[in-house]
């Protein structure tokens, strides 16, 4: 994959940085009691959402998980609307009715973060079916975790996508744990990619902390889907910095694991490699860092200053008409 434009590199860095900044800030705000409910943070997995969405346009679809902020940002959802949603404000992406676990932006092809583990698979098949029946070249990326891999819905969905040759790529974000339960415990075949054979689709593992590996793999899988050749399963092995949710005591990680996480940081790896290759300059990266910080500062300010929905709004948006 020698061909990657400078614009694409800048975009990749900007999105990864924006996700990290958003998540780090969400962690702080949650700890400070500013954000109600709970947040499942994506920090550490940035390379996956960004490496995949780098190939998608607003016309393509993604389905997401409870850990969905990264997918939203990679798919181009406005961070102001996202942050306001975390606060439960009227200006939020879902008018404050969804919260962290349900952020969506259908116009951007983002079919919702999802509070039900493994629920995105069937929805992704549906989006794929729409593209297939309408005869468009839209592709749907279905993000799911190693925990979701154990849900019947994912098995059913991969089978359905395969028999119908749907333009769906299944992206397993294997961060090693379902809440606190390691995949070596919950998964009879720990390499999720191995399962692809049973669904008669190509499946393979990549390093989910290497954005170039994810980018290359997703590019091939998405091209295959656009050609009408059916689904692919990509397993991206990664980790989560904040554990299951912000506030997780992380007692199940060993010190070695934590050290290893730092060494595998997807953003640091990216920086080092683009600098060493002279593809981007430190100044360019610093400018993006500053922009990301400013964008999140503004998002927090926007969220804080936005009004809550009025109580009457509790009754709207249940139905189109009733």
């Amino acid at each position: 994959m020698a061909e990657i434009t400078k614009d694409k590199l800048l975009w990749i860095y900007e999105r990864m940085r924006l996700i990290r900044e958003f998540e780090d800030r969400a962690a702080e705000l949650f700890a400070a009691g500013q954000i109600p409910g709970f947040v499942h943070l994506y920090a550490g997995e940035e390379a996956i959402a960004v490496g995949v969405c780098a190939w998608l346009t607003d016309r393509d679809f993604i389905t997401s998980t409870h850990r969905g902020h990264g997918h939203c940002i990679a798919k181009g959802v406005d961070v102001k609307a996202m942050m306001a949603e975390l606060y439960g404000k009227k200006t939020g992406a879902c008018k404050g009715k969804g919260g962290s676990m349900h952020i969506a932006d259908v116009d951007k092809g983002m079919l919702g973060a999802n509070g039900i583990v493994g629920a995105g698979g069937p929805l992704a098949c549906g989006a794929g079916l729409t593209a297939k029946i309408k005869g468009t070249d839209q592709v749907t990326a279905c993000f799911f975790g190693d925990g979701a891999a154990e849900q019947g819905t994912m098995h059913e969905s991969m089978n359905l996508a395969s028999i119908w040759k749907l333009p769906v790529i299944f992206v397993c974000e294997n961060n090693g744990y379902a809440q606190t339960t390691p995949s070596r415990y919950h998964c009879a075949a720990e390499d999720i990619a191995d399962r692809a054979t049973a669904y008669n689709m190509p499946g393979f593992s990549v390093d989910g902390t290497d954005v170039f590996a994810v980018y290359e793999a997703a590019g091939e899988a998405i091209a295959r889907a656009r050609r009408g050749e059916g689904p692919t399963l990509i397993e991206c092995k990664a980790f989560r910095y904040y554990g299951h949710f912000q506030g997780d005591n992380l007692s199940y990680y060993t010190e070695e694991e934590k050290a290893e996480q730092k060494a595998r940081d997807p953003i640091n790896k990216f920086i080092q490699r683009v600098l060493d290759r002279n593809l981007l300059t430190k100044a360019e990266l610093a400018e993006i860092d500053a922009r990301a910080k400013k964008a999140i500062d503004e998002a927090v300010k926007f969220a804080e200053q936005s009004p809550y929905p009025v109580l009457d709004e509790i009754l709207t948006d249940v139905y189109v008409s009733y």
Binding site: F204, A213, A217, R224, D276
Partner: protein, 334 residues
């Protein structure tokens, strides 16, 4: 005490070639099955001890779970686990220190390459788990287990049934960077990325230890010009690009491609090639492995410093010729 080591790589057989080249998926449960057949063979032939590398999938533990062995003692090696290819080198080194008589390797060219970095003079029995390999052989693992056992029991002449593999030593700016057993390839791919090489237009230069007509990958490209087997005293240098000859070769599973070779020449064992291209990545035995930054001097030396490898067919022939199996049959008979 007769001791056999086992290194099974849980990550082999699952890279992007499944997608871009319709390569076979080699799932880990299948590796467990293979290992179980190896263990049963070792047990049956009378090996006393087997030591298995730990891995994230617990191939060893899973293989032993519920397996009925009569006298074979099995242990999982105690070693720090990184879940990277370093584990295979560490395990090989440990097994070498433990004086294991042979090491069975489940994996592809890449796995054997990293085992070779640690196994010293211990003969290895490479079982292929995949379709992209030149170095390991596609063999029924029961037979491979018997061959490893024959070596451990000293039932055959090790010199007669093994060969010393060739090795490609890659130096960057005069420093040994790594080794390969089959091929060293420089590429214009910017990054290691998904590791596999599948687009010949990205390949700049190739140095082969072997050019096997019956194989797949870049080794097969060389073999279109001249076949060079394990015992031949030469390797080959190839520069890709127009202006020379074109060959049609199976550069990967399902990928039979027309390849343009600008220049090629034989490289004798002991000889060295200085590469002229300015690559971004260097692939070792089929996988992009090293990212190169800036202008470097890359040299590749062909040696015979590779691992000692058991020729399984020859080993079984030799044992049969010497009546080993008849003797073992009567020993156990009633």
């Amino acid at each position: 005490m007769s001791c056999v080591g086992i290194i099974a790589n849980p990550a082999s057989g699952k890279d992007i070639r499944r997608l871009v080249a319709h390569a076979s998926v080699f799932d880990n449960n299948e590796k467990v099955n293979i290992l179980q057949r190896v263990l049963l063979a070792l047990d049956a032939i009378g090996v006393e001890q087997v030591s298995i590398m730990p891995d994230y999938y617990s191939i060893g533990e899973r293989a032993l779970d519920g397996l009925r062995l009569s006298s074979l003692r099995a242990e999982i090696l105690t070693m720090p686990m990184t879940s990277t290819d370093k584990d295979s080198t560490t395990a090989a080194r440990l097994l070498c220190e433990m004086d294991a008589a042979s090491i069975i390797v489940l994996g592809g060219d890449g796995t054997n390459r990293v085992v070779a970095k640690g196994c010293g003079d211990v003969p290895i029995v490479p079982i292929s788990t995949g379709t992209n390999n030149v170095f390991p052989v596609m063999v029924e693992s029961t037979v491979a287990g018997l061959a490893a056992g024959l070596i451990a029991l000293d039932a055959v002449d090790v010199e007669a049934v093994t060969y010393r593999a060739k090795c490609l030593e890659v130096c960057i700016d005069g420093k040994l960077a790594d080794i390969a057993l089959i091929d060293v390839v420089t590429s214009s791919d910017l990054w290691i990325g998904t590791r596999a090489l599948w687009d010949p237009s990205h390949i700049l230069e190739v140095v082969l230890a072997r050019a096997e007509p019956g194989s797949i990958g870049l080794s097969s490209v060389g073999s279109c010009l001249q076949a060079l087997g394990v015992r031949d005293g030469h390797g080959m240098y190839l520069a890709f690009g127009p202006g020379g000859i074109q060959v049609l070769a199976p550069i990967g599973p399902g990928l039979v491609r027309r390849v343009s070779i600008r220049e090629h020449r034989l490289v004798p064992v002991g000889g060295e090639v200085t590469l002229s291209s300015d690559p971004y990545t260097i692939a070792l035995d089929g996988e992009r492995y090293i990212e190169v930054y800036g202008t470097r001097t890359i040299t590749v030396r062909l040696t015979r410093n590779g691992p000692r490898v058991v020729d399984i067919a020859r080993c079984m022939e030799e044992a049969t010729r010497c009546g080993v199996f008849q003797r073992l049959g009567n020993l156990e008979g009633d």
